[in-house]
Symmetry: C2
Subunit: 796 residues, 2 copies
């Protein structure tokens, strides 16, 4: 068995001079990091340090920062030596001060933020702004140059890193993983991403597991298992781990330099061999396990208590400056031991011999264009979505599987952009189940593990990414989009909640990015939620949850879009729109089962462009005000509404019905709340100001109330939707169990339209009989009554 590697002390690639300089650079970054956490004035410590120079609220995380600075310095060295393109993924995002310090040292920070210049005045601003009102956050954030990864929640560093290097053959993602983050589930499975990375057309991830031993108040699991277990674990994950462990800077610099030289050389060898012989076998990629003290170079003890190499270094190692004046002295000693006078000249400018250590231009990690992906973003070459139109001569006259039709469009998007390699489709083993299998006509499933002869469309260069981890799919896609490419994620509706929190973080990233002038727009994150709540009759209750929409609409209106196309042609239009959009999160909910098709392509474009509209062909209120408005959003609710309309036409033909279909859910919100919101005037003219509205909705009914409570006619709005009822049954029974079926909708109309008070009783008896018949039929035969499944809209 191949074992892990630890270099001997004799491997010393740095000359004495180089060692001195790299250590000085590291000291400079550490000095600037401590300064950011503590100081608001006197940045070069020219005067004796006093309380007035120190921030009144001390915030930030020191513990992980010196390690991050150490890695940064060593990557500067190898980038410069070999002209590498590297982005730095800071898993321990709380180490924000380190990344800010380094990008300031290399010059990118001041280029982007000229008011924070590379001089004493700039250094003062750099210090003061950190974790200060009106300043910058304590984590790596959109504000941080060179970052595509916000620290904070933890768990996504490795999947982001892989997403970034897919289809970027010359890019290396230096991905630092904290040993706290390593305990999270999403991170624990993301290591397996190496089974999906192709050394020919993808770049490389160099994971650096940074063991500094402690979380907020506990040791970490990874720091307290044996070296043997640690080594086995990462060999088991498919890596070749190199250990760099210690605390003596001189020894550690040599070890780190030697190790990085070796791993970069291994990466290049792997890539060269794969690219020259074209054989994409899965190599054992190198990784580094770096063990350093938490709060390395910080105070060993504070008030007699162990601090360096302990959890007390996690955030601010000591505070209480007002009550303990000796702490001010301690801070001054700590900062001075980095010897700022050797590092910066009198104007606060980094001395020349250190300036030279950083790479230049876009080689600087803070300036790598992949970390501001919008600069590199190319529009997708889009086929005309009209070419895939389902021929609908008459509403309801044909059946179609919406997502299968969408699959044809996605297939050709994939084909048109194959050469530019900037489009991927993600899904947790569900691409085929979700009827998007047309993609496999032009590409395979990405797979670098073993392939057997009987395998189905597995391919080393496949562009459909399937792993049974929604977290990894989401992380890959975010990394891919943030580095300027395009993608699509299809998922079972219920299980997209698995990534609720990742969605939050991405939505927040987009919101802040939009406020930062130098961040260029990126492609939207597009979800297709299918295998949705109404067709989980075979899987049952545990697979039913339409609440992701509720979760999404809590985020800023200028970020999120929710579409519920009722048929294939509207889905085609919406898909095209989403793939062309920027800086949004688009949620599309559409079924995969055969369903009646309603709109021909011209009508679909018109309808979906408006986002909401009257379906005149299903309404009979043309000459007059309606007696009732029947609204619907979602494919199954649309079918049930139209079926209910059919029953009503048949039984109470003089009832005037207006049918409204909603594709773009955000149209329901007030105009002031969402850019797509209807004006009150338009809303009133559609939904009337005083007629009953029976609204059949795909998800939890109260969401419709939450969107419309300010509308004039809200008091007459009655919403049906999913109310957590359901089990293993038939498709139609699912809607019956939630009172969303045609029969209940008819009853709802009768209960609310005064003119039906007399004729209604008869119709309600008919409905009761039908529901009893339905119940008897399904429990006897196990399937829906033929008249339900073969139902046609009466107008068809």
């Amino acid at each position: 068995m191949e074992t892990a590697v630890k270099l001997t002390d004799s491997n010393t690639p740095l000359s004495t001079e180089e060692l001195r300089k790299i250590n000085a650079y590291w000291r400079a970054a550490n000095y600037l990091s401590v300064g950011q956490i503590y100081l608001m004035d006197n940045p070069l410590l020219k005067q004796p340090l006093t309380l007035e120079h120190i921030k009144p609220r001390l915030l930030g995380h020191w513990g992980t920062t010196p390690g991050l600075n150490f890695i940064y310095a060593h990557f500067n060295r190898v980038i410069k030596a070999q002209n590498l393109s590297v982005i730095y993924i800071t898993g321990p995002g709380h180490g924000g001060p380190g990344l800010v310090a380094n990008t300031w040292l290399e010059g990118t920070y001041s280029e982007i933020y000229p008011n924070v210049a590379q001089n004493e005045a700039g250094m003062k601003k750099l210090f003061k702004q950190f974790s200060f009102p009106g300043g910058i956050p304590s984590h790596c954030a959109p504000e941080t140059p060179g970052s595509i990864h916000e620290g904070g929640e933890l768990g996504y560093a490795v999947s982001h890193a892989y997403g970034a290097v897919f289809d970027n053959p010359d890019l290396i993602a230096c991905c630092v993983v904290g040993d706290g983050e390593a305990e999270t589930g999403p991170l624990a499975t993301a290591w397996h991403s190496n089974k999906f990375l192709n050394p020919i057309h993808d770049g490389a991830v160099l994971p650096i597991l940074h063991l500094n031993g402690y979380k907020i108040a506990n040791p970490t699991v990874f720091a307290r298992i044996s070296h043997e277990e640690l080594e086995n674990l990462f060999i088991g994950y498919g890596y070749k781990p190199y250990f760099v462990e210690g605390s003596d800077p001189e020894v550690m610099h040599q070890q780190m330099a030697a190790t990085i030289d070796i791993v970069i050389s291994e990466i290049k060898t792997i890539q060269r061999e794969a690219r020259s012989n074209g054989a994409a076998a899965r190599p054992r990629w190198p990784m580094i396990i770096l063990r350093t003290p938490k709060g390395w170079t910080g105070p060993k003890e504070v008030d007699g208590e162990k601090t360096e190499d302990y959890w007390r270094s996690h955030q601010v190692p000591f505070a209480e400056m007002t009550t303990k004046p000796e702490h001010i002295k301690l801070l001054e000693q700590w900062m001075k031991h980095y010897k700022p006078e050797e590092l910066f000249d009198d104007d606060g400018v980094l001395v020349q011999e250190l300036t030279e250590l950083a790479p230049k231009g876009v080689y600087r990690m803070g300036a790598n264009p992949h970390a501001n992906g919008g600069i590199l973003l190319k529009n997708l070459k889009m086929p005309d979505f009209r070419n895939y139109a389902v021929d609908v001569s008459k509403p309801g006259s044909v059946l179609g599987e919406s997502t299968r039709v969408m699959g044809y469009l996605l297939r050709d998007v994939m084909q048109h952009n194959k050469d530019t390699r900037n489009f991927r489709v993600m899904g947790p083993d569900e691409t085929k189940s979700n009827r998007l299998a047309a993609l496999f006509e032009v590409t395979g499933r990405s797979w670098m593990a073993e392939i057997l002869p009987e395998d189905d469309h597995l391919a080393a260069d496949g562009r459909v990414m399937e792993i049974l981890s929604e977290h990894t799919c989401q992380g890959w896609l975010e990394g891919y989009l943030l580095t300027g490419r395009h993608g699509f994620f299809s998922c079972y509706e219920a299980f997209i909640h698995i990534i609720d929190s990742m969605f939050n973080q991405h939505a927040k990233w987009l919101k802040v990015s939009k406020e930062i002038p130098w961040r260029q727009p990126i492609a939207s994150l597009n979800y297709l939620l299918t295998s949705h709540v109404w067709r989980q009759d075979h899987n049952g209750f545990s697979h039913q949850d339409p609440g992701f929409i509720d979760h999404v609409v809590n985020k800023k209106a200028d970020i999120i879009r929710v579409y519920l196309p009722p048929d294939a042609n509207t889905l085609l239009y919406i898909t095209d729109k989403c793939l062309r959009s920027r800086d949004f999160i688009n949620v599309i909910v559409a079924g995969k089962q055969p369903q009646p098709q309603w709109l021909d392509m011209d009508a679909a474009i018109k309808h979906a462009t408006a986002g909401v509209g009257i379906w005149a062909w299903a309404s009979n209120d043309q000459e007059t005000e309606p007696d009732v408005v029947m609204a619907c959003a979602g494919d199954v609710p649309t079918l049930e509404t139209l079926a209910a309309v059919g029953l009503l036409h048949q039984h109470v033909p003089d009832l005037k019905i207006r049918v409204i279909n909603v594709v773009n859910l955000m149209t329901l919100q007030p105009q002031e709340e969402h850019p797509h919101g209807l004006s009150d005037k338009d809303f009133d003219s559609l939904f009337t100001t005083d007629k009953p509205i029976i609204f059949a909705y795909h998800g939890y009914p109260w969401l419709i109330h939450r969107l419309t409570y300010r509308r004039t006619n809200h008091k007459n709005l009655h919403v049906r939707g999913y109310k957590e009822e359901g089990t293993t049954s038939t498709p139609f029974d699912m809607v019956v169990l939630n009172d969303l079926d045609r029969f209940h909708l008819v009853a709802d109309v009768i209960d609310r339209v005064p003119k039906l008070s007399r004729t209604g009783a008869y119709v309600k008896q008919f409905i009761r009989d039908k529901l009893i018949e339905h119940r008897e039929y399904i429990t006897t035969y196990g399937k829906d009554m033929p008249e339900i499944t073969n139902w046609k809209w009466p107008g068809a």
Copy 2:
């Protein structure tokens, strides 16, 4: 290095007769599994099989089932031989037919469901009910005897198993993990649970990684990495893996029997040694890697396409019975090759020699009481929560940290129940940060990895469980509760979204369990969400999300409870109430920072019992109708509301204000929607029918609208809350950025109360000045103005 184990063929513990019988038992389970998927009549195949005997909709998952049946049969053997207490956790929950078949064979199924008797008529019902309307789901579910784990979402088998065996020293959880599930993040980190399992007072988990090679449409990662990597990975995770691999039943039965004998013996040895010498060192626990063909013993080929040992076996291996009559023949051959006539007598009763293979009574895995934990549940011994009361002589007169006070109560709950070992507290490294550190006065943090001298309250028998994985905390707690114990989960509010989907599954489990008479009530799942949105000023935007409440209230009203105690004494009362409750999910949101305390204990009990009420001492409408209602829910909104009331009293003393505080959020819903909902009459008398209501709410404001849109005075309701604004700033600035601060609330009142139209202009100018002063102060000094932080309620 200790390497993995694969037994040689010479290790054959089963006699020929035993081998024949165990194989026959397995055939019986397989026969019954296929029967459930396909048949609705002719269960013993006494007549030639025809279309009428076959269900019209074929649902269910065959692929994993024969493997599950194989394991079950072998556990029956070892349980019987050694009188073990074992529960069976079915990670591949889609293998529902297997568990139903086995519990029917052992008799538990018919005891619980007498209409599904152990005879031909019962077998017919057993078959028909499966995945049939009105029948049972296709997964393991609450309906399944012996199960605490619903299949479906995947990811939680291992954490559930560990949760089940904590504090159950004699229990073994046989935990089958599918190789699909093994790709999920939560599962990938849950393997590390062995660092928290104490062999002295906990039971054992025997993980069985079942490699059957395929997911829905793809191979699995774990089946396509090298044997060497697989072995290393699990050694790295701290296990000693035993491999059982093959497809020949005779060989496989011997290997499995020999392996199980060895691993059970190893488990017993580990436990005996630890328990006799009292030294709780972390052992290398055994595990099994079982590699069998997917759809083992099913049809090799269907229509010329590979089926056994391939993804085509995942669900129903073949269907199209109407159009392909040869499929009926194939099904009959398949079922008959199990030779049902040797397994069941003419009445469908399992033959005597096979009946004897199953354990008896509670030793049957379907009847293990731990899997119906409510039977074993003992009430917690509760100290009187009044003993921890904060002395509040006058509202607002003292500061207190609510969660710290709660920590004293939790400490004593822990202490009182230490001997019964049925209470644990979970949290992702945040117990101390969340100010619950009093717990460490009586117990430690559970830790079985390496302990260093400087470590802080780590202990092998610690009862506070901390791992930086919300998924694992949640999974452990669910397993612990489902087996009849009590617990508590404290978490940062924003990051509880990580387990949104796990919450869904547990809520659904509870909903269904309540409808099953033989499932006994279990202790509620209690969340404390602290470090909440309003005090993330130091962490910033990425740590701000109060939306878990929105997520929770989408679930069934009889399952969920949401509490927002405004101070320590109400929190004490609510905590007591939650710890005594059953079958709920209780969400408590409370801050950890010093805040004014409002209610003495008597007032707190009265207020929190009602859940909502007027705070007369803060109101001045006693003699009359108010001009405005100022409502609040949550600790920070309560403070801001009272501060606004103070300002209003000062500036417009003749304004009549009614202050309402909401502790129990569900009181706002209509009575028909939630058992805690106020009647319309009560709501109207509190909130008036026509006065403006300014509602300061902890979370997203629209949730209040969604809960109250049917109330009479909803049109006058104006809600302030979190609207996704925030950054690194000061605590007070966080509320300012979201318009929830005292100044904006005052402005809201002025804008809505007609009688203030004249005096209001002056007050609004005052407010504008204050907000400018605030902005200048914080950007200069980096902290809140003293008058904000030192603010006292004017009545105090």
